[in-house]
């Protein structure tokens, strides 16, 4: 296999693009998670959408877009440093900035979040542009939630299995499951069998959930 394509997920990679692959995660990171993109095309796109929402009298969309538009200033000041740190080692503070930037990218571009819900899934035009004329022969899947299946289907490419990514084990649950599953989840974290619990919806604001959240965090 001379050239393969790697999807964006399951997380914004901190690695460099390896020979023989096109890594959309690297190209997305280097293309849009930058101060220049936030100050430029992303802020401009949000501004256009904001004006359109105001013209249509869509206050809810306008409020959300206004928040995102304002955030481009703060994120533009932080994202280059965060990206640089993220490419050196896992860095919680950098990740927080990149996650915030991901939401801006998705909103500005009108892209959905990927299979794991954390990183934007670029539309086909962006992917084709990112390929820069290269013609990968397959999409490599390294994680069930990396978006490889959808990407392969969109591009009409075969899906091949790559070496699984050595990710720490996490579990995804809805927020309301946190309290009922507290003992099981906190025990697994304490024993080192689980690295994190990902909530796919906001947890309810009740006593049992607050106590479970406190123990978990």
């Amino acid at each position: 296999m001379s050239l393969v394509l790697r999807p964006v997920g399951p997380y914004l990679t901190g690695a460099a693009e390896a020979p023989g692959e096109i890594n959309l995660s690297v190209r997305l990171r280097e293309g849009l998670f930058t101060s220049a993109a936030l100050r430029g095309e992303l802020r401009a796109a949000l501004g256009d959408q904001l004006r359109a929402a105001l013209a249509e009298g869509d206050g809810e969309a306008a409020a959300s877009l206004l928040v995102a538009w304002v955030q481009t200033w703060a994120l533009a000041a932080m994202v280059d440093e965060a990206r640089a740190r993220w490419t050196q080692r896992p860095d919680g503070a950098a990740l927080a900035v990149l996650v915030a930037a991901a939401e801006i990218v998705a909103q500005a571009k009108g892209w959905p979040m990927g299979a794991d819900g954390r990183w934007p899934e670029p539309e086909a035009d962006w992917v084709l542009e990112a390929l820069q004329g290269a013609q990968p022969e397959a999409v490599v899947q390294r994680h069930p939630d990396d978006g490889a299946e959808a990407l392969a289907a969109r591009l009409g490419l075969p899906l091949v299995q790559g070496a699984p990514l050595p990710l720490p084990p996490i579990v995804s649950i809805p927020g309301e499951a946190l309290a009922p599953r507290r003992a099981e989840l906190c025990g697994a974290v304490a024993r080192g069998e689980l690295a994190a619990v990902r909530l796919t919806s906001p947890p309810p604001d009740d006593l049992a959930t607050r106590l479970a959240w406190g123990e978990l965090t």
Binding site: A183, C186, G187, A190, R191, L207, R210, L211, G214, E215, T217
Partner: protein, 263 residues
């Protein structure tokens, strides 16, 4: 032992028992999962540098979670961690685990009712340091209550038995210590309750600590009627001698460290 509770004594390193030190060092050596609230963590940091102690302070800041609920949750969590998750758990507490410690009491009860083994390592209690500045004969027994119990919960003292009232500073109903500026209200309420059973000139002794680094036991004798004329540190205590009791029990004893008294 899956679950061990270690009492670290009231403050000074010298008050940590040899047994407690041995257990701390063993916990470090075997990589036990150690938990502690704020004061206990500070003490452990001084006693056993490098021993990671997991904070439980989140329990103090959860909205809607008062101290009784927090301690219940803490107890259940530690028992679960030890006996369901199979981890080697150590819980550090300041002072003695057996004095006024709801979480320890609950852990002991939970372990007893479920048939779980529990190792409890005793520690010096704050009472030992507090009694340092009075002459308690023991001939008439001793009443031990929190100031809150007497001032606000309707506990009536027997004037013929000496009493030690602890946590004299102002606390919330949930158990949060407020700063010393808030102590006056508690002192006023306590004085008024005591004046129903004791004469205004009855001597009482304020007992408190000098704090870091020496934690000297300090004391001040005054008539009951003057109890609320000033503020007291949060963790102060009040010695109330018995009416008609041994005269020596109404005296302020000199400091046991041999140094000059500095009230």
């Amino acid at each position: 032992m899956p679950l061990t509770i270690i009492g670290l004594g009231p403050a000074r390193r010298e008050h940590v028992t040899l047994e407690a030190m041995q257990h701390l060092e063993a916990a470090l050596a075997r990589g036990a999962r150690v938990y502690g609230l704020a004061h206990a963590r500070e003490a452990a940091e001084r006693l056993t540098p490098g021993l990671p102690v997991r904070s439980l302070d989140y329990l103090y800041s959860l909205p809607g979670v008062d101290r009784p609920k927090a301690y219940e949750d803490l107890a259940k969590m530690l028992v679960r961690r030890a006996f369901e998750d199979g981890l080697d758990v150590v819980y550090l507490v300041a002072g003695s685990p057996l004095y006024v410690n709801d979480a320890v009491l609950l852990i002991r009860r939970l372990c007893a009712t479920r048939g779980h083994p529990l190792r409890l390592v005793h520690g010096v209690s704050f009472v030992d340091l507090v009694l340092d500045r009075v002459y308690w004969t023991g001939h008439r027994g001793l009443q031990l209550y929190s100031a809150w119990n007497v001032a606000r919960d309707g506990v009536a003292l027997d004037p013929e038995t000496p009493a030690l009232l602890f946590q004299l500073g102002e606390f919330t109903a949930g158990g949060d210590a407020l700063d010393d500026r808030h102590s006056t209200q508690m002192l006023i309420e306590l004085r008024d309750v005591l004046l129903r059973r004791y004469p205004p000139e009855h001597p009482v002794i304020l007992l408190y600590s000098s704090g870091r680094p020496d934690y000297r036991s300090l004391g001040r004798r005054l008539p009951l009627a003057e109890l609320a004329l000033g503020t007291v540190p949060v963790y102060s205590n009040l010695w109330v001698p018995a009416v008609g009791g041994p005269a020596v029990e109404a005296e302020l004893a000199p400091p046991s460290d041999g140094l000059e008294d500095t009230p």
